[in-house]
């Protein structure tokens, strides 16, 4: 035994871990050091006795990634993914926490349903699964969900994701209710009338292909309307999967005005534009759709400048046979947990501090996850990601149950070498 | 495979003489040139057929109809050979009941002629079909023989025989390339 007292953790036989040759990322800079993990805490920055020694060859070590937006499909759609397989995929992607979207069957609109998701996540044991709660019952947009029950079960982010809460009066009520508690209202911005019948971005490519398009306006108008309500209610507001440069401009303006507004962007919106749809491959079909090259550049700039706070995967698994149909018939969404970090590094080439901020610290703060997104320090929780920025690789096969990824066959830089959740190695790929 | 520089074995005058002789043989066999149709096989069979027709008009006074035939749609090797451009198939008269004399520049494996026989049969029912070639180089893969031959030229498989005709090429004559 190491002889060290580990505070705050149940008695487990968690082996102590020593990481050697680490580049520890902190807001004050990058420190070359070893790292010792004992129990569920960081013991110290330095060497010591340990049960497991891992040489990570100069890779970055920072707070474990937090995903604000994952579809784990359980309960109700387990053939696409379940909480166990989704957690495993998350760990492989360097995640120590996932916010699970509530568009399951049944929707997460009541306390016991939220607790089900939390318990399943705990059983799986790979990372912290935090359910988001629906704003309205069944996500039908008609009546408010059991917001208090959900809050009591630990839900802090509320969204009807998959759909937009279009009824301005109902949205206002939800905002007023949650503003009081400090909850976050997150919006999937897709105006139903403007988006009707659309399968891809409305523009030159959709016109050439003869596919009904989804105008950028469908996102902008919802954000604009929501921001007016935020001004009125003061609620913490989060724009999910933002995709338009115009939408980002609205967020910037709101932040400049001091409104409590945050935003997330997906890795695929940092990489691909609408010309990909010419392949007719549903691995390029999602909401929001892939937009113009100008929007892709706009998203990169906005993320770099902090107008967009966080990267969120919108991990949306679909079984292979569901996508073996024409583009217009295929379901929307692509997986993303296992490629997110590499995609972000390849697209932005960020400094390590910025990288961990957008992948971990900022999303943890938005989701109010206390034990997550904390910069490495002695005594801080051992939720860590070891990320090697050097190797190039091409994703081919995924740990998720589903394989619908736009990154298949795309050369990416950067690999998750290890993930540590509450002091346990949940993933390693050290060659 | 490296080849020797081409050796000319017939010049323009030799070719002309051979074609005139073939023209005479055709008229001899058919007691004149009534009921005879000359059909040149694309590409070089066509001008050769025209030259034979001119010769017959010269010494017999008969105008023999000349047709052209592209066998590109009848070949047995369409899978492997590139799809070269098709030439025109146009026989100006009905072939049924007439004697069709197919004309080609070089007779080799016989497959082109086999295709030509099928093609003409699809256009009608000739009373008979005959074959005239400028060069017979041997190596038949099918039981096909020429009725009229300009020159017999025993060759090996590695050699290449080239016929060039006025109008299509800059020169008129027959060349053979031997391997080193």
């Amino acid at each position: 035994m190491t002889g060290t007292t580990v505070t705050g953790s149940p008695i487990t036989s968690t082996p102590t871990i020593a990481l050697h040759n680490a580049l520890i990322v902190t807001p004050d800079g990058v420190v070359e050091s070893d790292l010792l993990v004992a129990g569920d805490r960081i013991e110290r920055l330095g060497t010591g006795d340990a049960d497991v020694h891992v040489d990570i060859g100069g890779a970055w070590v920072g707070p474990g990634f937090v995903d604000l937006h994952s579809h784990l499909r359980e309960p109700g759609f387990e053939w696409k993914e379940d909480i166990t397989s989704g957690s495993r995929a998350g760990a492989a992607g360097g995640y120590t926490a996932l916010v699970a979207m509530p568009n399951t069957a049944p929707a997460i609109d009541a306390g016991h349903r939220a607790r089900f998701v939390i318990d399943r996540g705990r059983e799986a044991g790979f990372l912290e699964v935090v359910p988001a709660g629906a704003i309205t019952m069944g996500r039908r947009g008609e009546a408010l969900a059991h917001l208090d029950e959900l809050w009591a079960a630990g839900v802090r982010i509320f969204t009807d994701d998959g759909d937009t809460l279009a009824d301005s009066g109902l949205l206002r009520s939800a905002m007023e209710y949650l503003a009081e508690r400090g909850g976050v209202v997150a919006q999937h911005a897709e105006d139903p009338g403007l988006a009707r019948g659309g399968h891809m971005h409305e523009g030159t490519v959709s016109s050439r292909l003869g596919i009904t398009g989804l105008p950028a306006l469908a996102e902008e108008t919802v954000i604009a309307r929501d921001l007016s309500l935020v001004t009125l209610t003061g609620v913490r507001y989060h724009t999910q999967h933002i995709s338009t440069a115009a939408g980002a401009a609205l967020i910037k303006e709101a932040k400049d005005q001091g409104l409590p507004v945050t935003a997330e962007v997906t890795p695929h919106h940092l990489h691909f534009d609408h010309t990909r749809v010419e392949t007719m491959d549903p691995d390029f079909k999602m909401y929001p759709p892939l937009r113009t090259a100008g929007d892709v550049e706009g998203m990169r700039v906005a993320l770099h400048e902090g107008v967009i706070d966080a990267v969120a995967t919108d991990h949306a698994p679909h079984a292979a046979y569901e996508s073996e149909v024409p583009f217009e018939e295929a379901p929307r969404g692509v997986i993303g947990l296992e490629t997110a970090a590499a995609a972000v590094l390849t697209a932005l080439d960020p400094e390590p501090v910025m990288f961990f901020t957008m992948m971990s610290v900022a999303p943890a703060r938005i989701a109010s996850l206390g034990g997550q997104g904390q910069w490495i320090a002695e005594g801080s929780p051992a939720n860590l990601t070891v990320f090697d920025p050097d190797p190039t690789w091409t994703p081919e096969h995924f740990a998720s149950k589903s394989q619908n990824s736009p990154f298949r066959g795309v050369k990416l830089r950067g690999k998750v070498r290890a993930t540590i959740f509450r002091g346990r190695l949940t993933h390693q790929d050290l060659e | 495979m490296q080849q020797d520089a081409p050796v000319q074995i017939m010049d323009g005058a030799d070719v002309r003489r051979a074609l005139r002789r073939i023209a005479h043989e055709v008229c001899e066999r058919h007691h004149g040139a009534e009921n005879v149709i000359l059909v040149g096989i694309h590409t070089r069979g066509v001008p050769l057929a025209q030259e034979i027709a001119h010769a017959i008009a010269d010494f017999e006074g008969t105008h023999v109809p000349v047709g052209e035939l592209d066998i590109g749609l009848y070949r047995d090797d369409l899978d492997n050979r590139p799809t070269t451009r098709l030439g025109r198939t146009l026989i100006p008269v009905d072939v049924t009941g007439e004697t069709v004399v197919l004309i080609d520049d070089v007779l080799f494996t016989g497959r082109t002629i086999r295709a030509a026989l099928d093609a003409v049969s699809d256009l009608g029912r000739p009373a008979a079909m005959e074959l005239a070639v400028l060069i017979d180089r041997g190596h038949r893969q099918l039981p096909i023989r020429a009725d009229y031959v300009g020159k017999n030229l025993p060759t090996s498989l590695e050699e290449r025989v080239t016929v060039r005709v006025d109008g299509l090429d800059q020169e008129h004559g027959v060349w053979i390339e031997r391997p080193l």
């Binding site: 050439r208 024409p326 | 749609l73 256009l123």
Partner: protein, 305 residues
Amino acid sequence: MKHLLAIDQLDRPAIEEILDLADHFTEVLSRDIPKVPALRGATIATLFFEGSTRTRLSFEKAAKALSADVLNFTPSTSSLSKGESLKDTALTVQAMGTDLMVVRHAMVGAPHRVASWVDCSVINAGDGAHQHPTQALLDALTLRRHWGKLDGLRIAIVGDIRHSRVARSNIAAFTTLGATVTLVAPPTLLPEDVTDFGGTIASDFDEILPDLDVIYMLRIQLERGSGPVLPSLPEYVARFGLNRSRFERLPPEAVVMHPGPMNRGIEIDPAVADGARSLITAQVSNGVATRMAVLFRLLTGKAQP
């Protein structure tokens, strides 16, 4: 070339090669025995998930004139209605020894998806509002025969451009061959963004009439319903129909085309459709020779690209 999925796959020499082949096949079709053995032993399957007897028959005739065997798959009588997926249907048909599939589907990109699943060749016979390459080729052939060439021809395409795969394919084919194309339609029937589309827009049909060589009328798709895109049918006909008075204001050499089937008396006056300056019948008869050319081009010389 393994598949023909969209006209923009073909550059000018490639299109002209197919049109030249089509000329040869026209001669074959004029014979007493309109048949050649070129594709003997090949199996061609038609998979028409969207109804169209005329196009399917045209392909069938083309295949048979080349001595190929034909398999026809029609969804209403098949297991697709029992829920078999597009992919499984394609693989089943392929397993019967198919060398080439002709696919028509109501959804954009369906033939492309089929091409990604099978080893044999695929021809797009119409996918949603996207492309109908053989229609464009037979239309180009028709114009080439009438005018000698398409360079410099002033062509107007009139009608529901937004939902028309014929319009999209034809614009590409006509402009590649040197013609200029003007699109005439009300704003709600034009594509949302015409920046890359390849033609100029005119909303006043009458204004451009004296400067046209070819009027290509599209079928107004009544089964789509007017709904929010058209104010009313009579209004559309008044503004965009090719009636006799408009026809008379065309230059004397101008010709009229239509991909069929026509709504007589709606987008086109019946006398105009049947008149001497209509190429509509020629379009239909050129269809078989054009499709023979495409089948021949895709299934022979496989050793080369």
